[in-house]
């Protein structure tokens, strides 16, 4: 059984190889053309090939040389930030910046370790008011404030 000596590099290798394979898989239907008349598929496929090759080399080295281990993935901060952003992005059309902004910040605050409800509510109200003043009134961006579009 081969031992992975550098987990961090091995992970990177997997990312590269998967990305390259994805590039080839989803670009497979594109016309390849020839060097003299490059089709839309030529450069993407060449790049995908290079990415895979780099991934393979990094992966092989990860089996030979010792390297750092992978830091633990923490789902909560990233997960909550993304949920908060998506809430904002998909609700602003329906209920406007004022309410979706407050909701977003309430959710986002809990991505941190030391969230406190009272503080979060005040922060949400203050920041949303601030963004309405700056983006809508001062910069004149067309964002729906109270209602959807």
């Amino acid at each position: 059984m081969v031992r992975i000596k550098s987990p961090q590099d091995f992970g990177a290798a997997l990312v590269f190889i998967l990305f390259g394979l994805g590039g080839i898989y989803f670009g497979y239907d594109l016309r390849w053309g020839s060097a003299a008349r490059m089709g839309p598929g030529y450069f993407p496929l060449v790049l995908s090939g290079c990415i895979i090759a780099i991934g393979v080399v990094i992966g092989a080295r990860a089996l030979i040389f010792d390297g750092p281990s992978v830091e633990r993935f923490q789902i909560r901060p990233l997960g909550l930030l993304i949920i908060a952003s998506l809430i904002f992005g998909y609700l602003i059309e329906e209920i406007g910046l004022a309410i979706s902004g407050v909701l977003m910040i309430l959710v986002a605050t809990y991505a941190g370790r030391e969230a406190r409800l009272k503080e979060a509510v005040i922060l949400a109200l203050a920041l949303t008011a601030f963004s309405i003043i700056v983006f809508v009134w001062a910069l004149g961006q067309s964002l729906p404030v109270w209602t959807g579009r």
């Binding site: 961090q8 590099d9 992970g11 990177a12 990312v15 590269f16 990305f19 590039g23 989803f26 594109l30 016309r31 060097a35 003299a36 008349r37 089709g39 839309p40 598929g41 030529y42 450069f43 993407p44 790049l47 995908s48 290079c50 990415i51 780099i54 991934g55 990094i58 750092p68 830091e71 993935f73 923490q74 901060p77 990233l78 930030l81 993304i82 952003s85 998506l86 904002f88 992005g89 998909y90 602003i92 910046l97 902004g101 977003m104 910040i105 986002a108 605050t109 991505a111 941190g112 370790r113 922060l123 949400a124 920041l127 949303t128 963004s131 910069l139 004149g140 961006q141 067309s142 964002l143």
Partner: protein, 505 residues
């Protein structure tokens, strides 16, 4: 004759840039940039990425002026935190932190800050003249450039970026390639074929720049900071009556600042060069030239004056390749290029000839931005320092709101926020596996350009790659690229590079 032209041109620029409105935008840009740059853990790249959307509603010149202000402000904010708190907000102020923070500990924070600001201002002035003097001839040279030359130039630029990236060279190359491939998504200009769009309408025009950089840098940055146990903040309270340096102190700082300025101006022009390289190089040079090198690391004023001047000069002159050749030499310039393209401008020699107001206005605004930093920001240091005491748990929701509202305000499409989410997950995975996303942005910006120039070159030569070696310009550039890669592989250089990046830790 030439000199008169420069004066004429600069005058045009100042007329364009010095309107009340534009000075106002420069001011807002500087203030916002400093504000974000001072905040711990946010360097210029995420800062610019976050503030980009604010500038889109403006006309091109105003938006560029504001962006330049944000850029200098963010860089300046980064130096402030590295001196006061020993947290370099960005790679180019890492070396400033070494001696600057020691100075602050010895009660000389005011001196370090003012030397850094004055040195930067002086370097900025010289850098502006450099841009004015070298821009036009380079733009003329650029007209000699043909597709193969552009292609070779981009290869060189990417190679230099790889050389200067943190960590593993191989991973950096991989990141560049991934960026290039991402840059190709969208409708192929030549055939009209959809590539990697998965039938999603908003991808037909290609992946939007803003969700990409905000996801990769903004969101990932927040997550990284949240993961860290809150570090104890070692704020050194600077005494601000000491802000203005005494004459004797200045004398020690003048020569390093001059050398740093010159070195920085030169290194900034190189593709792949820029502020980071310049500050490291200047620090090394000052240490070599010093009579007593052991003072370095213990609060040597040369260690602040030199690198700070160098990085600002380089920040200035790195606009040269962008504005004359259309080649961003570092990730910050890639952001600037992205901003220009969103304004509907294709950076390159054409800007100078077709829109001289814009080019010279930008050059003039660089100088105005630098002046504002000294005149307005230096007295405001007290306020910036107070910002450092705002706890992160209150700060990050504000940053997130800014990012998301910014993206939405630019194109009113929830899908773009989804795209941002995708890139933040991707960026998070990359960071966990030790891949630095910065080279990827460079690749992303250059992807379509490289493909187009490669295609045209190969059409010219009927598919024979020898064309890249037959043309003198492209052959020279490729030879330099090979040398660069040779250097990277060379054990001695490799050790030096690793050492240089180790000082960050």
């Amino acid at each position: 004759m030439m000199d008169l032209h420069i004066l004429d041109n600069l005058a045009t620029g100042f007329v364009a840039a010095a309107s009340l409105q534009n000075i106002g935008f420069a001011l807002i840009g500087c203030l916002l940039g400093t504000l974000i740059g001072v905040l711990p853990g946010i360097g210029p790249i995420p800062a610019i990425a976050m503030l980009l959307p604010i500038t889109f509603g403006l006309d091109p010149l105003s938006s560029l002026i504001m962006l330049a202000g944000i850029y200098y402000g963010a860089a300046y904010g980064g130096s402030t935190t590295s001196i006061l708190v020993n947290i370099p907000g960005e790679a180019s102020s890492i070396v400033t932190a070494i001696d600057g923070h020691q100075m602050a500990k010895q009660g000389k924070a005011g001196l370090a800050l003012s030397v850094s600001a004055l040195g930067s201002f002086f370097a900025g002035c010289v850098g502006t003249v450099f841009v004015a003097a070298f821009g036009p001839p380079l733009a003329t040279l650029a007209q000699e450039f043909n597709s193969p030359d552009y292609f070779a130039l981009m290869v060189l630029g990417l190679a230099m970026a790889v050389m200067l990236a943190h960590g593993s060279v191989l991973k950096a190359v991989g990141m560049v390639f991934i960026g290039l491939l991402l840059g190709l998504a969208g409708t192929d200009v030549n055939s009209g074929t959809q590539r990697y769009t998965f039938g999603i309408t908003f991808l037909f025009d290609g992946i939007d720049f803003l969700p990409l950089v905000i996801g990769l840098f903004g969101i990932v940055e927040i997550v990284r900071n949240l993961e860290m146990k809150e570090a104890p903040r070692m704020t050194v309270v600077a005494r601000f009556r000491d802000l203005w340096p005494r004459l004797a102190d200045l004398k020690d700082a003048v020569k390093p600042a001059l050398r740093g300025t010159f070195l920085g101006s030169l290194l900034g022009i190189l593709p792949g060069g820029g502020a980071v390289l310049a500050s490291f190089a200047s620090y090394t040079m000052e240490k070599k030239l010093a009579k007593d090198p052991s003072r370095f690391g213990k609060g040597a004023i040369e260690g602040v004056a030199g690198p700070e001047s160098a990085n600002n000069a380089a920040a200035q002159t790195s606009f040269i390749p962008l504005l004359t050749l259309g080649l961003p030499s570092n990730p910050v310039m890639a952001l600037m290029m992205g901003a220009l393209m969103i304004q509907g401008l294709q950076p390159g020699a054409a800007i100078m000839t077709k829109q001289p107001d814009l080019f010279w206005g930008l050059v003039a605004s660089m100088w105005i931005g630098n002046l504002m930093l000294v005149v307005l920001n230096l007295p405001l240091i007290g306020i910036w320092v107070k910002l450092l005491s705002v706890p992160y748990r209150l700060l990050f929701p504000a940053i997130l709101l800014f990012c998301v509202v910014g993206i939405y305000a630019t194109n009113s499409s929830p899908g773009q926020i989804g795209l941002m989410a995708v890139f933040s997950v991707f960026g998070y995975i990359l960071v966990k596996f030790g891949c630095e996303p910065a080279p990827m942005v460079l690749g992303f910006i250059l992807g379509p350009l490289m493909e187009e120039n490669l295609r045209r070159s190969l059409v010219l030569s009927r598919g024979d790659p020898i064309i890249f070696l037959e043309r003198p310009i492209s052959a020279t550039l490729l030879v330099i690229t090979v040398i660069v890669f040779g250097l990277i592989v060379l054990p001695a250089f490799r050790r030096g590079r690793e050492q240089a990046f180790q000082e960050e830790g």
